[in-house]
Structures are given as C-alpha cells and as structure tokens.
Symmetry: C2
DNA sequence: TTGAACTTTCAGAATTTTCTGAAAGAATAA
DNA sequence: TTATTCTTTCAGAAAATTCTGAAAGTTCAA
C-alpha cells in the first residue's frame, strides 16, 4: 500500500477528527488506513506509512481492538499479524456510538440518579435537583432512543435514514395512528 | 450560591464530561454551575466557587457565549455583569449538536466530497474511493437526519423520544403507509 | 534450547492543551 | 479629567496527553 495524496489527505483528516470521537490522532489515522486499504496491513507497514514508532502502532491497535473496530488476520506461512477494519461502515458507526454511550452516558446517568435520590438541603438544592432531573430525563431518552435505533436491522435503519426530513410527516401520521389505537390515552 | 457536596459532584462530573462534548473541563464546570443556579452569577463568584483564575473564567464565558449557551444579565445599579444559562435543556442539547455538526461533520463531508471528485489513479484508489463514498453517504444521512430532528417542534420531538423502542413499530407501519401512497415507487 | 522474528510495555521526552496573573482596556461616576 | 471597578488579553508556567525507543515478552522452527 502506498500513501498517495488522496489517501494521505483522508488519513490525516481522520486523524484530526478522531480525537473528537474519543480516540487520539494516531488511532484515528491507523483506523483510516485500515478502512480504505483492501489488503490487511501489518504493524510495521502501518508505522512506516504514518511515520510513527512501532510502539505507538501497537498501542493504537490495542485501543482499536478494545473498540472492536479492527480484527487480526493470520496469513498462511506468515509469522506477522495483519490487521483489518471490521464490519461495515454501519457497524463502525454503531460501535462508536455504543462505546461512547458506555463511557460517557452511563456514568453520567448513574451520577444524576444518585443526586436525584439525595435529600435537598435548601432552596438552592431543590432548584438544582429540578434541573438535574430534566437533564437526566433528556439523556435517558436519548440513550433509549439510540439503543432502539441500534437494534433495528440495517435495512430498516437505512429506510429510516432515507426518510430524512420526512420524519416530521411520519410523526404527524403516527400521532393520528396512535390516538386511534389508544383513544383513551393522552400524552 | 454555595458549593454543597451535591452541587459540587454535579459540577465536577460535568467538567470531566464536558471535554467529550467539545469544550474543556473549566468550560464544562462553569456551564454546569450556571445551569443549576437559579440566580445569575458574576464572574468573580464563578472563579471563587470553582477555584480558578479570573482570566480563565473570562475565557470560559467567552467560549460559552460563542456556543450561545449563556447570556449576560445587567442588574439595576450594578456595574458587574451577571451570567445565566440560556434556554431550556432541549435548546442546550440542540446547540451542542449544531455546534458539533459545524465543527466536525461539515469539514469532513466537504473533504470527502473533494476526494470523491478526484480521478482514481490506481486499483488502491478505486477501492479507497468506494469506501470513502460509503462513509460520505452515511455521514450525510446522519447530518440530514439530525437536522430534520432539530427542526421539529419541541413537543413533537418529545413525542418521538418517548416512542423509544416503538420506533421499530412506527417504521413497519410507515412502510405499509408509504407503499400504499406510492405503490409504483420501490426502495 | 537457542535464535530469529515478531509484539508489547513503559519510563521519560516531546508535544499540546490549559491555566494563571499581570497588564491593558472599558465603562462609569464625580 | 481622574479614580474606581470591573473585563479581557496574552505570554509564559503548569498540567495533561501523546510518542518514542529500548528492553522485555512471545512464538515458533530447528
């Protein structure tokens, strides 16, 4: 594999963005490389292409492994290990969501719940609890929602995505549908 | 305002999480403080409560201002400026999404589009372009989708959120609905 | 068991990010 | 105008993160 200008710009950009998605520049670059390479790459080749140390490659691959974003390939008669990105682009996005949820949402929700259980000691804490409850409910909704999206089959998800701004229309329609099915229930 | 243990744990946790959402620890803490304080706070008070320098508070507030997450309040007969979190929790989440989209998605989409326009020079680049196109389409879908969610009215959004895992059901239903309305069109 | 070819680990170096505090700037009152 | 009370800026300090490369670990063939 060779770093043509096209591939280089993709890899570097992914490096910059990577840090936003919860991993560092090098990890982003390694992953970008593996995603657009048809052939699995070995650790030395990755280090050479990106101009980073062998140790750094090792740590990056370990990190990507913990995110389940790469898999190790063993080639016939090769002692070296080769690495490949894992799953489809959809799977990749799902993994990133999943991982972020575990690292960011879950601990936050747990803390907020704890605070909600506490006895408010004064006026200020009563107000604080009110706000914290709002935040908790919002985060919980978002979490449940993304989880339910993740459990949809890929082609259903695709349909949903393609709907785009049609979501509003679907919702109106769903409203009438729901109120017909359950006329007694009010939102 | 005083930092009781309850409020302190909330503020510190938000500080840690803040960096995940695109701003640093101090900015997260300042924002957390403003969110759970019923009264607007002045810059000195914020600095004292968090134990950070006056200059740092100023920079943090500037950052939050650029995100449109805080607003300045002028009190009768006070020379100092007071700060308050702006809008509802929903608004806050929207602002964060919006800002992240601008900073992360838009530049990436633009780069990917550029690469897609390039002429592939060899087999490797042909494969790379294929993958890049997949990523582009996925990101574009997600972007359009979140934008359409953002343009929904808060109460519609709420309904949608409350649907949770009902999304699957709605989708099935939508399928039949769509195929009845547009029987000629195939996905 | 040895040696070759690889991988992993981790202390300290390099780099990047964040924070401080002094100085400069702005608004207002007298 | 000057004094007072606030805010902002930014160079350099401090802290946090990331990276390197040598050493230790692993695997396997002979």
């Amino acid at each position: 594999m060779q770093l043509t200008p096209m591939i280089e710009s993709f890899v570097y950009h992914f490096g910059e963005m990577g840090s936003r998605w919860g991993f560092n520049r090098t990890v982003g670059q390694i992953y970008a490389l593996l995603v657009i390479s048809e052939e699995p790459l070995c650790a030395n080749e990755i280090g050479d292409l990106l101009g980073i140390s062998r140790g750094n490659v090792s740590m990056g691959l370990k990190e990507l492994g913990s995110w389940q974003l790469v898999q190790v390939i063993h080639k016939q008669g090769e002692r070296r290990e080769f690495y490949q990105s894992r799953g489809s682009i959809w799977d990749m996005a799902n993994r990133v969501f999943e991982e972020r949820r575990k690292r960011e949402m879950d601990p936050t929700l747990s803390l907020l719940r704890d605070i909600m259980m506490d006895e408010a000691a004064n006026q200020e804490e009563i107000y604080a609890q009110k706000r914290i409850t709002e935040i908790h409910d919002l985060l919980e909704n978002i979490t449940e929602w993304t989880q339910s999206l993740q459990s949809l089959s890929p082609d259903k998800l695709n349909t949903l995505m393609k709907l785009g701004s049609g979501v509003g229309k679907v919702l109106e329609f769903t409203d009438t549908f729901l109120s017909k099915k359950e006329p007694a229930k009010k939102t």
